[in-house]
Amino acid sequence: MLNNFIDSFSEYGDLYVQSIRETGAMVGISLVISTIIGLLLGVVLVVTRRNNLYENPIVYQILNVTINILRSLPFIVLMVAIIPLTKLIVGGTIGVKGAIVPLVVYTAPYIARLMESALLEVDKGVIEAYQAMGATRNQIITRVLLRESRPGVVLGITIATIGLIGASAMAGVVGAGGLGDVAIRYGYQRWEPAVMVTCIVFLVLIVQAVQSLGTVLAKRLRRR
């Protein structure tokens, strides 16, 4: 059994390195883009609510429904369904760059919801205090909402990152590679249990590391 692992490591060592890199690239790039979009949408979702800074029922409802629709689709369906969009944006549907568009379309709405709930946690009284001292609406967003919600935002991004790692495994379907892809092709289709187990161990370790990092960071930001 142990020999199996050693053999598979020496045989596929480069493959693991390569696939971790691919996973890292897919997750890293889509995470940055999704976080920017998601945070922005999360802020819009919060401030356009009733009795909020930029109350606007039309914008709120459109965004709300759109996010719900996108969030209804399983990643594998979404990825195939938006192939035309992916082609339009990155000029192809293959490889890491082909995976990034669907990953972003999948993750950004998720992050938007996570950011929404983190931002809604911010004490209304503090917002009121800043309104009373003559802060502009944008100052309230940047100085109060985004600052006070940082622990929740970090935890939300952590959750989204882990979801993103999961989704990226399915991106193997479009030939984007990554650990999930290796697990399916070598571990399942070629029936090499050692490869399957190795991939699982790597995924578990990565997820653990991401979660611990997120938890520690959120704890440091939480000052209460």
């Binding site: 009284g125 009373a132 001292m133 100085r143 006070e148 000052r223």
Partner: protein, 345 residues
């Protein structure tokens, strides 16, 4: 005396689903420059909504709010912000930013308008000195006690050199001792910086200790207003009497009342209210020697309203009817408020 805050016929109506809620109904009141004006009422009386109308955190459904003569209705956003910077506000729950330290919390109003760094540091240190928290600059709100948090909030409210300070139940979340120290601080700020203070509370003690004038609110309406001395010495409305009872109970115990009712001797029961220095005059001795009356002390209470001594004495007097009348005339001439509360004949 100029009117700093003028509220005219203020009403605020909310909709809770289809239900209409009139939180504030036709409130008219003025706050003079440099005074401490209190609004007292039970929870749900509308006082919190009313004080939020003063800086337009709540826009009244109808009526006019004027700050230093400027009508707030119809102001552009930037103009309203300029007015708000002249009005500090503190809250029951302090409402400090938990993610930044004491220094940055106090500096917030100055940072909003891009004040130079050195000026901010100077101002913040000065304010932390005033509120007695110089050593807490680097602390975060969660490391402070309730009283300390309210001191930080006061310092923050004063950072933009406001003319008006609004206090929304500022001491309601604090224990009695801390309440005293915060009230002392508010009084000091009022005197030192000539800042006009408008506060809301449900504690008569707060009104008695620092307010000059008071309005009593019930069901969204102001039912009674006047100087604190007048309201305490001669409350008109039942709700006002209830509030005053909490600090100054002038009702006779029922056992004593029954006994007096069965007393057949000719005489009267008088309630004598006295204010300020005549508290020390020997009026009872005068009644006995000059009018040959026999005064009996039934009940007495003395308290301090802001800086003025206010006392109340209930006495029974027996003697000739004409002598009693003369005695009452005499007491009235001594600048005392006399009420005949019961005949014991």
């Amino acid at each position: 005396m100029s009117k700093v805050i003028q509220l005219e016929q203020i009403s605020k109506r909310y909709y809770q689903g289809k239900r209409e809620i009139d939180a504030v109904k036709n409130v008219t009141l003025d706050v003079q420059k440099g005074e401490i004006f209190g609004i007292i009422g039970y929870s749900g009386a509308g006082k919190s909504t009313l004080i939020r109308c003063v800086n337009f955190l709540e826009q009244p459904t109808s009526g006019s709010v004027r700050i230093n003569g400027i009508e707030l209705e119809g102001l552009k956003r930037a103009e309203l912000r300029a007015v708000r910077r002249r009005i500090g506000m503190i809250f029951q729950n302090f409402n400090l930013l938990s993610s930044i330290n004491v220094f940055d919390n106090v500096a917030a109003p100055l940072q909003l308008v891009k004040t130079p760094k050195e000026a901010i540091t100077k101002k913040v240190r000065e304010l932390l000195d005033l509120v007695g928290l110089t050593d807490k600059e680097e602390s975060f709100p969660h490391q402070l006690s309730g009283g300390q948090k309210q001191r930080v909030a006061i310092a923050r409210a004063l950072a933009s050199d406001p003319e008006i300070l609004l206090c929304d139940e500022a001491t309601s979340a604090l224990d009695p001792q801390t309440t005293e120290s915060i009230l002392d601080l508010l009084l000091e700020i009022n005197r030192k910086y000539k800042i006009t203070i408008m506060l809301i509370t449900h504690e008569m003690h707060v009104i008695k200790k620092i307010c000059d004038r008071v309005a009593v609110m019930e069901n969204g309406e102001v039912v009674e207003q006047g100087t604190v001395m007048d309201i305490i010495s001669a409350p008109q409305q039942p709700i006002t009497k209830n509030f005053i009872k909490s600090i100054f109970d002038v009702t006779l115990p029922s056992v004593l009342l029954n006994k007096l009712e069965n007393d057949k001797r000719p005489g009267k029961i008088l309630r004598i209210s006295f204010v300020g220095e005549n508290a020390a005059d020997p009026i009872l001795a005068d009644l006995a020697t000059q009018f040959t009356l026999r005064p009996t002390i039934l009940y007495g209470n003395i308290t301090q309203i802001k800086e003025t001594i206010f006392g109340c004495l209930i006495i029974g007097v027996t003697g000739e009817a004409s002598a009693i009348e003369a005695g009452i005339d005499y007491l009235t001439q001594q600048q005392l408020r006399i009420e005949v509360i019961e005949h014991a004949e």
